[in-house]
């Protein structure tokens, strides 16, 4: 954890760190059981998958009637349970657990279809492949009629700290990235591609022949909103995402997944992630999607204690999980273990108006005032007067808050609650 420097007058410098510090890739063996998560709320009645159903490696599994949401099985075996998983802010997910069979059998549905590298194929088979976030996989953006994407940004830098996935993919499999880009260009008809390079990647990426821009090596420069502002010189309006103004972001890993899928005729199923141990040492791991974190811990002889914390994702924007069996998802770029003694205390102190938060906020939000309103539950006012929706969710305000207030949590939950209220209103009116 990077602490405040003695010279507190300076803004904190959180560097992304270099890939070289991370030792070589370790393959995690196929586990006995995997769990696939989808962000569809669990609905037992309409679930298409039944217990005991057999699935093959690489098989696309449609989840619900009248819905095109799917997951892709990363193993061969039998569905052993279907359940609901509750994530941050009470969001409900569908969890499909599969017991792994002894012999692996690869599904061949995709093989035949992969001869046609169309946008439909990408959307229908690759939304669950490594590098795609649950819920809004970039491959879906390109077919969304409302968005009309005219620029594709391939992010080869990693957006949160400690994460090295994209940089590893670029280093180890630049050809897949290159292939993925040309497939994507052909399928979408979008020719304006910008590659975002982190420190030290410029050279490798220039060889691909697309536009390359280098992002600053301090957090949060590689967050999409800041890439938009600083590199593409387009300010995303408050509450909107880059795709709303025609720019589709996709990670290097997701692009490489596309490249590999069509050249091998198989949907990629292994996820590259960084494991950060309690002492801060890092290891690169490759594991099948759905592998429980515990299998990874075992491979490294890590034991966890009561009151430790397991974080999926980066230290600034990730989320902590309840269980050491929590599965690796297509977008799990890191698993961080925090010792209970290293967990920062969240205090019940109020804001002292020290002003540190607004000095670090990359989008000039009056965070101190905002958080006072959010604490009191005045969400609407916070949105109208104190720029709740301008927040690009970097978490720096929480990181520096002298009072130790969970500001970022207040912000995210306020957005979530307001979002729910708006949806409810829309449904009632409609």
């Amino acid at each position: 954890m990077i602490k405040r420097s003695f010279i507190g007058l300076l803004k904190p410098r959180l560097e992304y760190g270099s890939l070289e510090e991370t030792p070589s890739l370790k393959q995690i063996p196929i586990p006995k059981e995997i769990t696939l998560l989808s962000n569809c709320p669990f609905d037992k009645k309409n679930l298409l998958l039944k217990k005991k159903a057999t699935v093959k490696t690489g098989q696309k599994l449609l989840l619900y009637k009248e819905s095109d949401e799917y997951v892709v099985s990363s193993v061969t075996g039998q569905v052993s349970s279907t359940s609901s998983y509750t994530g941050d802010f009470g969001r409900s997910y569908t969890a499909i657990t599969i017991e792994v069979a002894d012999d692996e059998e690869v599904d061949d549905e995709f093989k035949d279809i992969s001869k046609d590298a169309s946008l439909e194929t990408i959307k229908n088979f690759l939304a669950f492949s490594p590098g795609n976030p649950l819920g809004n996989p970039p491959v879906k953006l390109f077919v969304d009629k409302d968005k009309s994407i005219s620029t594709i940004v391939v992010c080869c830098a990693d957006s949160d700290l400690l994460i090295t996935t994209n940089r590893h993919v670029v280093k180890s499999d630049i050809d897949a990235v290159k292939e993925g880009i040309s497939i994507l260009k052909a399928a979408t008809g979008v020719n304006d591609v910008v590659m975002i390079a982190s420190h030290g990647q410029m050279h490798e990426l220039s060889a691909i022949g697309e536009k390359v821009s280098q992002v600053n090596d301090t957090y949060p420069s590689a967050l999409p909103h800041l890439i938009m502002k600083d590199i593409l010189s387009k300010v995303v309006p408050a509450g909107k995402n880059p795709e709303d103004i025609g720019v589709g972001f996709i990670s290097a890993e997701a692009v490489a997944s596309i490249g590999k899928a069509f050249s091998n005729g198989q949907i990629p199923l292994t996820k590259i992630l960084t494991l950060v141990k309690k002492d801060g040492s890092k290891s690169l791991v490759s594991a099948r999607i759905g592998t429980p974190a515990n299998d990874i811990f075992n491979a490294f002889n890590i034991t966890l204690n009561e009151d430790d914390r397991i974080i999926f994702g980066g230290p600034m924007t990730g989320s902590s999980v309840y269980s050491e069996n929590h599965p690796v998802q297509p977008d799990t770029d890191a698993i961080i273990i925090q010792d209970r003694d290293d967990i920062p205390v969240i205090s019940d102190y109020p804001c002292t108006n020290c002003g540190d938060c607004l000095r670090v906020c990359p989008v000039n939000i009056q965070v101190g005032m905002l958080v006072r309103l959010l604490e009191g539950g005045h969400y609407e006012e916070a949105a109208d007067q104190y720029d709740l929706y301008s927040c690009i969710e970097c978490g720096l305000c929480s990181y520096v808050c002298v009072s130790g207030m969970p500001i970022f949590q207040y912000i995210r939950s306020a957005k979530y609650e307001l979002g729910r209220a708006n949806t409810a209103e829309a449904t009632n009116n409609g």
Partner: protein, 319 residues
């Protein structure tokens, strides 16, 4: 899924830079120490007495208040101690014990806790307490009278009083060096210019006070005093005396910079600081009070919430 361990589940962010309210307060206390030490060297045991009584009574008031109102005990954060320490620094070494205890009561209970405690008060509690005791017991703050029985190796004169009552010629004898080295009479911890400036710079470097406030305050004092001085140098002293006498320095680095009662945005800070400086000199030169720092800060605390409405536009905000 059988789990043996319970894990800590909370929300991002999972890192924190380790800053704390207590660290800030202990650093403020540390920064104030040189000025207090010189006061103790000057005024001896009675200064020790006033400052320690002030610190301890402030802590005790906080303790009592937290207990009575069943709030969680906050004395560990050092805020009450700092309030007591700063209050003690403003007092003359001859301040009677009851005044110290009363003053810290006003600061901690009325100035801070009744408004809701740390972060919630509109006025700097120390300044509120000082304003009340200064108005109520004027004589105690006649530093010349109060400190008459001291035997100094320098002219035992409170520059601002001399200025007010005898005119500019009375402060001619103060050299810049004297003022900076504390060779003037005044509050226990308010006269050692070099010490206060060093403490202030330390706090600025550590990022604990907002440098813009201190600097714009001093600039406000300097410019206003200069204008007065240029208009009639026979009646109005030059900026040096105003900068280094009375509560100017302790005000600039320790009082006006208090987090809760001062603005956080750049332009408001400049207005706040410069306004405090301007009012300070106005009160000194044409007001009835000898020193204007305390009242100037109080007035600017009052307008602070309005000032902070001048804020930069958030990026991405749609008109």
């Amino acid at each position: 899924m059988v789990d043996n361990n319970k894990f800590i589940v909370s929300h991002a962010t999972f890192w924190h830079d380790g800053s704390r309210i207590s660290t800030r307060n202990y650093n403020i206390a540390l920064a104030a120490l040189p000025a207090i030490l010189l006061g103790i060297i000057c005024y001896g045991m009675s200064a020790v007495g006033v400052v320690s009584l002030s610190i301890s009574s402030a802590i005790i008031w906080e303790f009592i208040f937290c207990r009575i109102t069943k709030r969680s005990l906050t004395i560990g954060d050092g805020n009450a101690a700092v309030i007591g320490m700063l209050f003690g620094m403003l007092l003359p070494a001859t301040a009677p014990w009851w005044l110290v205890i009363l003053g810290t009561f006003v600061a901690v209970v009325i100035g801070k806790q009744i408004y809701g405690g740390i972060g919630a008060y509109p006025f700097n509690p120390v300044v509120v307490a000082m304003a009340i005791v200064m108005i109520s017991w004027k004589d105690i703050f006649d530093f010349n009278e109060a400190l008459m029985n001291y035997d100094f190796d320098f002219a035992m004169v409170y520059p601002l009083a001399a200025l007010k009552h005898f005119g500019v010629s009375a402060v001619d004898s103060f050299s810049l060096g004297d003022l900076l080295m504390g060779k003037q009479s005044g509050g226990i911890g308010s006269t050692f210019g070099v010490g206060l400036i060093a403490g202030g710079i330390y706090l600025i470097i550590r990022g604990i006070i907002r440098w813009e406030i201190a600097l714009s305050f001093l600039a406000g004092v300097f410019i206003t005093a200069l204008i007065f001085n240029m208009s009639d140098s026979g009646r109005y002293a030059g900026p040096v005396v105003h900068l280094f006498a009375g509560y100017t320095l302790i005000g600039a680095f320790f009082l006006a910079t208090e987090d809760s009662s001062s603005p956080v945005n750049f332009i408001p800070i400049l207005i706040y600081g410069a306004g405090t400086g301007l009012l300070t000199v106005l009160i000194r030169n044409i007001g009835v009070y000898v020193d204007g720092v305390i009242f100037a800060i109080l007035i600017m605390n009052l307008v602070n919430p309005l000032l902070d409405k001048i804020k930069p536009k958030a990026i991405g905000k749609v008109a």
